[in-house]
């Protein structure tokens, strides 16, 4: 019996096979590329030079443009916080200052404190990476608190670099705690982790605080952009809200 084979059948068979092989190859290549794309790689990190993360965030978020975010710098009691800008520093005898900052700029402060009976001066920097959306009229009553603890100052005085990322907690995953203005909960991450990324997983990063031990020279401070810093808007301190107390009419003093 002759081996009959249709010419149409043979013509159709080869391209179909080639097409199937090409499809499988494409799917494999795409899967590999997809796996590479899903790696945990983030564009920004806290090791970037001060101000870069803020500038990148400003370019990616139109709501940051032109917005002045109130920030409250809270240093340990007994220290003095001054603003470094415009070739000089402001006079200050207070350990807390409330300022308005804009994204894309770097702000620097001078903290005078006493570490183990030794007067020291550090120049921490703060940059804003996101903003708050407070109800109208209450923006200044809810600034972003940047708390500088005694441990932060001690670490920086010892020659170490302290990078602290302040983030907004998610309301649903917060742990109840006693509120204190001078005590902001924080935890350390290892050198292999980036605090900006860790804060992004836990909430919304708002500000990056960097404290090093380097003291600028007189020439650096005297420049118009002293130590790469901008001048923030000085704001009044938030008003302490009176806790609502119910008092019987008979309890009122006469």
């Amino acid at each position: 019996m002759p081996n009959f084979k249709s010419p149409i059948h043979s013509w159709f068979k080869a391209p179909v096979l080639l097409t199937a092989l090409a499809t499988v190859a494409c799917i494999g290549a795409c899967t590999t590329a997809q796996a590479q794309l899903t790696r945990d790689h983030q564009l920004l990190n806290s090791k970037m030079p001060p101000g870069i993360v803020s500038q990148q965030k400003l370019m990616g978020n139109a709501r940051l443009a032109g917005h002045t975010q109130p920030v409250r710098i809270i240093a340990p009691d007994g220290s003095r916080v001054a603003i470094v800008a415009g070739g000089g520093t402001t006079e200050s005898n207070n350990s807390r200052v409330t300022v308005g900052m804009k994204a894309g700029l770097l702000y620097r402060f001078r903290i005078d404190f006493v570490d183990r009976e030794t007067p020291r001066t550090l120049y921490p920097s703060v940059e804003i990476v996101d903003r708050l959306y407070a109800p109208e009229g209450l923006e200044n009553q809810f600034p972003v608190p940047v708390v500088i603890s005694e441990n932060d100052l001690a670490q920086a005085s010892g020659g170490k670099m302290v990078t602290k990322v302040v983030y907004l907690e998610r309301s649903e995953s917060t742990v109840p705690r006693r509120p204190e203005e001078t005590e902001q909960p924080w935890f350390d991450v290892t050198g292999a982790e980036d605090p900006l990324h860790v804060a992004g997983r836990l909430g919304r990063p708002l500000a990056i605080l960097r404290i090093g031990s380097r003291v600028p020279t007189a020439g650096e401070l005297a420049g118009p952009s002293a130590f790469d810093s901008s001048r923030p808007v000085v704001l009044p301190d938030p008003v302490k809200s009176v806790p609502s107390q119910v008092m019987k009419l008979s309890d009122q003093p006469r």
């Binding site: 959306y133 109208e136 932060d152 790469d228 019987k248």
Partner: protein, 466 residues
């Protein structure tokens, strides 16, 4: 027994549709057209100050007993002996009055003299996981009725995608996520954190649930993540070398921060210190706030409760703006502006404006369906951790019939801590609080007596933001 209840309901339905069309229309008209007039008259007769009673803190003895095993009976609605007698007498009276179409007979049948007659007895309660199956046939189905009828889907979760959420706010109220349902054995299903609702019984054997509106309080909370780099350990790295030679500093800052020209521009923009002038005005307001000293007005309405809706149970359009305080901040968070849900049908109408922070849920009805309106307001729209916020819940029976076993429940979120001893209620109620899964409390008010048509009450309590 259940079949008997169904028969009674069917008899009553025929009775209502065929024989007492006029009374029903009158009953509808009483509510639909003269609600304002009735409430106005009621407002005139009602004192301006509601005497709120401080409820005692419960102890273990007053806690209701939880049924040991309700798996076999949880889907059934139990009739008490009194309720059975009531239905028997009611059916007999309906049979004798079937030819009488006067409204007096119909309303007399509804009231029946005894205020506690016709409702099941409270036997305790329990919180169950999961969802209750659809119990419309059993007469146990959830509210809002209007939403169900409008969506035509009993599984519709009304606010799962409606209300926007922000990580800067603390929310309390409404029926979040899973739909709250209560079965015949007082088991509560689908109660999530933040849920605030009321459930009640009707004379025709239904147990309904009415969620409240949502209250939003701006209360951001902050934490920090720190990393300490030891420069001594890394001094052999290239970065440290550049740092010592100041090459790294020159390279990075001279190049990247040549944008320092922008910083000069920023100095100009900081001429917006004009805003500081405005802050002085705000400081003046604070001084005025300190002078007020009106916080001693216990047993009366507080300034934040000064709404007709809270005082008289009547919503005025002119107060919508005040209730929507903080709306602009919410607009930042959502793209879909405007009225989120609007519907109008024969059945109860619910206009749900979810744009505002103080969500307004307006309920109207033009028939005799039982509806419990639960309205919630807070004393502050923003609070820092540690501050106290006072909540006020106003509940009203908007139906022409009395409703019984009215129970108000507020499942507090983890950011709110109930201040002990601050629960108050304008009418007799039993206050119970139990621990919940959010490390906070579930507050429960069990109203002792049935709530007559058009009547309601006010509940107050305080929470500390944490």
């Amino acid at each position: 027994m259940i079949q008997f209840a169904k028969n009674v309901a069917m008899i009553k339905t025929n009775f209502a549709t065929r024989c007492i069309a006029i009374p029903l229309a009158l009953a509808t008209g009483i509510f639909a057209s003269s609600t304002a007039a009735a409430q106005q008259a009621e407002a005139q007769s009602r004192p301006a100050v509601i005497q709120l009673r401080t409820l005692p803190t419960p102890d273990a003895k007053t806690m209701p007993a939880v049924p040991a095993d309700t798996a076999t009976q949880k889907n059934q609605f139990k009739l008490t002996v009194a309720q059975e007698e009531f239905f028997q007498s009611a059916s007999a009276r309906m049979a004798s009055a079937s030819q009488d179409t006067s409204s007096a007979v119909y309303l007399d049948f509804l009231s029946d003299g005894d205020p506690s007659h016709g409702f099941a007895e409270r036997t305790g309660f329990a919180f169950r996981d999961g969802e209750l199956e659809n119990k419309i046939d059993n007469g146990v189905f959830p509210v809002p009725l209007g939403r169900h009828l409008r969506q035509k889907d009993p599984r519709y979760r009304h606010n799962k995608k409606r209300l926007t959420r922000s990580d800067e706010y603390v929310y309390d109220g409404s029926d979040r996520e899973a739909r709250v349902q209560v079965d015949g054995d007082w088991n509560i299903y689908g109660m999530d954190s933040e849920d605030t609702f009321g459930h009640f019984d009707t004379l025709d054997g239904k147990r309904l649930v009415s969620p409240s509106n949502r209250v939003d309080i701006y209360a951001p909370r902050f934490s920090a993540v720190r990393r300490v780099d030891n420069m001594q350990n890394a001094k052999y790295s290239s970065q440290v070398t550049q740092f010592k030679r100041k090459e790294g500093t020159v390279l990075s800052r001279a190049s990247d921060f040549s944008a320092s020209t922008k910083q000069n521009v920023a100095l100009d923009t900081n001429e917006t210190t004009l805003k500081a002038v405005g802050f002085r005005d705000q400081t003046r307001g604070v001084l005025t706030d300190n002078v007020l000293q009106l916080r001693g007005s216990r047993e009366s309405f507080h300034p934040y409760e000064n709404f007709d809706l809270i005082r008289w149970g009547k919503h005025s359009i002119s107060e919508t703006t005040r209730l929507e305080a903080g709306m602009q901040a919410a607009n930042v968070w959502q793209d879909n502006l405007g009225l989120q849900a609007f519907g109008k049908k024969v059945q109860p109408i619910i206009v749900n404006d979810t744009v505002s922070l103080q969500q307004i849920v307006t309920v109207e009805t033009d028939d005799d369906n039982a509806i419990l309106r639960v309205t919630k307001v807070a004393s502050k729209i923003a609070a820092r951790p540690g501050e106290e916020v006072e909540f006020t819940i106003r509940f009203d029976n908007l139906s022409p019939r009395k409703i019984g076993n009215v129970t108000l429940i507020d499942n507090l979120t983890n950011r709110l801590q109930y201040v002990a001893g601050t629960a108050e209620c304008s009418i007799d109620a039993k206050f119970i609080h139990t621990d919940n899964d959010s490390s906070s409390l579930t507050l429960r008010w069990e109203i002792d007596k049935p709530v007559p048509a058009g009547k309601g009450g006010v509940i107050r309590f305080k929470c500390r933001v944490r």
